[in-house]
Symmetry: none
Subunit: 122 residues, 4 copies
């Protein structure tokens, strides 16, 4: 379900957060589904339970999952994260566009590039 890259400089818990939040955002995991327990996932990924614990704590704090102590962790409804995530993504897009302009890409070039990347749609 999740593949870690131990050579990656980023901390493991961050990779877990990223992978799981992506699965939740794209809808692969539907609301109120139970996630693997801290210990189980830790064993599956051969990492320490504390590391998974930390990842789950962050996911909960960011609204992607909710935790019921003694029972497990469950996928939250999209309403909990939607707003925050949107502004975050827009922020990232803005930064990428600024860099594009800095490096000399013209407006038409960027528009063409977006058009091509989104070619599947419509």
């Amino acid at each position: 379900m999740i593949i870690l890259d131990f050579r990656d400089k980023r901390p493991i818990y961050e990779q877990v957060v990223e992978k799981l939040s992506q699965l939740i955002i794209c809808g692969a995991l539907s609301a109120d589904t139970r996630l693997p327990s801290v210990r189980n996932l830790a064993m599956d990924l051969s990492v320490n339970p504390n590391t998974i614990q930390r990842a789950y704590a962050i996911l909960e704090q960011e609204g992607y999952i909710y935790t019921i102590t003694g029972r497990g962790n469950y996928i939250a409804s999209p309403a909990s994260w939607q707003k925050g995530k949107l502004s975050e993504v827009i922020d990232e897009l803005t930064k990428a566009l600024e860099k594009s302009r800095l490096v000399g890409m013209s407006k038409t070039e960027v528009l063409a590039f977006v058009d091509q990347t989104y070619k599947n749609e419509e």
Copy 2:
């Protein structure tokens, strides 16, 4: 010339690299201009000389500057970095666009957003 943000989570040398490379890319520093010496810049920014040394090493490796031992560091010609930088920026843009789609933005919404961000031009 450069303003550092010590509260930023990124290491200082990385901030120096970013700031200087931006100045070079946008043309504020023209080719073959001499950069301040490692020790001078370190004093100006009240930072450890090792930190500046490291930044200059990275800038050289990425083709933004060239070093003449015993003489100093000089701005390289755009040809040395242009290609690499472009592909890097395009990579970043692609990632941002993927996230936008994942979070539910439609093609028209993204195009409109790009149009607005680039509104100054054309």
Copy 3:
């Protein structure tokens, strides 16, 4: 009669205690009324009987109910809890007021806030 929030961080038995004590305090349950049996309430709330048992034990210890072995649990008379509850609430109010002052609220601001919260009365 009682609605539990399993996502709440507080333990279930604590929620049961809170809900029942509120019903008793506000007079919705009058003295000497019989409470549902441990097993019945546990089934109604789809919860482990031990949890309800624990809640009832706490309620008895705090004077809200009394237990007749083999017969059931009954609502106690207000006299048993009134004094303790009042001092507890006053304690909580005092702490909240201390924090308000610490955070910079002036006396008049607090008075106005209380006035507004209690606006229905008098």
Copy 4:
């Protein structure tokens, strides 16, 4: 500077967060002052460095302090926490007032109590 209560049921890191945030809110620690290092404070309180690390991480996330990796932790300016803290305190006050009403305190009684608690002020 800080006294812990190991018999307290609340986690140690939470106690540290509470104590330090209070000191910051009441102005006992002024902005840009350096806090003790993670290891030093851990030794002073005879707890594990991880526990202090966690407390500092929370304080940073809530805007009470800022961290410069490799240098230490510093008190943030009030602007970073003011707004969030105010709404949190108001929330607590509201809950306390609701309980007061539930337990039978009249509006005039509450106002008198507030008046007395704030008696020092004007």
